[in-house]
């Protein structure tokens, strides 16, 4: 079976990993309470989505 001829150097390995990046979550302002929330999801702060209450937050 074929095998790699050389060990991948630290530089080459790390250069490959420069493209592994964390991306920021896509947040938007809740139309009901103004808190930041994930888009297309009910607001965890007030429980509203699309202008109506989905659930009542505990606090």
């Amino acid at each position: 079976m074929p095998h790699p001829k050389r060990k991948i150097s630290k530089t080459r390995r790390d250069k490959r990993r420069t493209h592994y990046k964390a991306s920021a979550p896509s947040l938007s302002k809740c139309s009901n309470c103004g808190e930041m929330k994930l888009s297309h999801r009910a607001c965890p702060n007030c429980g509203y989505y699309a202008g109506r209450s989905m659930f009542v937050p505990e606090s």
């Binding site: 920021a24 947040l27 930041m36 297309h40 109506r52 209450s53 989905m54 009542v56 606090s59």
Partner: protein, 216 residues
């Protein structure tokens, strides 16, 4: 190619999956609104809507067919009388799935699935009762907890105004806090070691113990 592959297995055997969907459908028809994972909510939607469509025929064969999946007799009765009546002429699309974000323990995406025609009954009732309770509780606890919460909220608002910058800052803070915690752990370990050494070397003087610390 995933041609003609429909549905989800939900990590279950066929019998387990049927049982899960039967239970989810029954509970949805009973409570009109249930909270579950997104995958299960979407599968429930696929499962329950044809049953409701079937129930709209409202004859004996339809009743027997639906009864194969909805095992609860009271729920079955309610489905064929109240729910079907309430749905009326709606041509499908009886349920709504709203995403809620991620669960803390296993990062599973959660969702609420509810019957579309039960908007007013499901949500506002809870709202009135719980809000009145919460206001009373907050009044009682205002003296203790309120000021802290307000401060925290203010801090959050400030961070949110900065948006991306704030996020970067928080990540930096997290990393710095992690480092600090690591350092503190190291310190604790060193202290423990030194104490152990002192126990062993009771006869020796404090100066020699200190020298050992420095060495290690």
């Amino acid at each position: 190619m995933r041609h003609r592959v429909k549905g989800r297995k939900l990590g279950r055997t066929a019998s387990h999956r049927h049982a899960t969907l039967n239970a989810l459908a029954t509970q949805l028809l009973r409570h009109k609104k249930i909270k579950t994972t997104l995958a299960k909510a979407k599968e429930t939607k696929r499962f329950v809507e044809p049953l409701i469509t079937k129930a709209k025929k409202n004859d004996l064969s339809a009743r027997r067919y639906v009864a194969r999946f909805v095992k609860d007799k009271e729920v079955l009765k309610e489905l064929f009388s109240e729910i079907v009546e309430k749905i009326g002429d709606r041509p499908g699309g009886y349920t709504r799935v709203v995403k809620l974000g991620y669960r803390a323990g296993d990062a599973a995406e959660l969702a609420i699935i509810e019957l579309v025609d039960y908007n007013e009954i499901a949500a506002p009732k809870k709202k009135e009762t719980k809000e009145s309770k919460t206001t009373e509780e907050t009044k009682a606890k205002k003296s203790k907890k309120a000021p802290k919460k307000e401060e925290a909220e203010e801090a959050e608002v400030i961070e949110e105004n900065k948006e991306e910058k704030a996020e970067k800052k928080t990540t930096k803070r997290k990393t710095s806090s992690k480092k600090k915690s690591d350092e503190s752990k190291k310190e604790v370990k060193e202290e423990v070691k030194s104490e152990a050494e002192e126990d062993k070397t009771d006869s020796e003087t404090d100066e020699s113990a200190a020298e050992e610390k420095e060495d290690k």
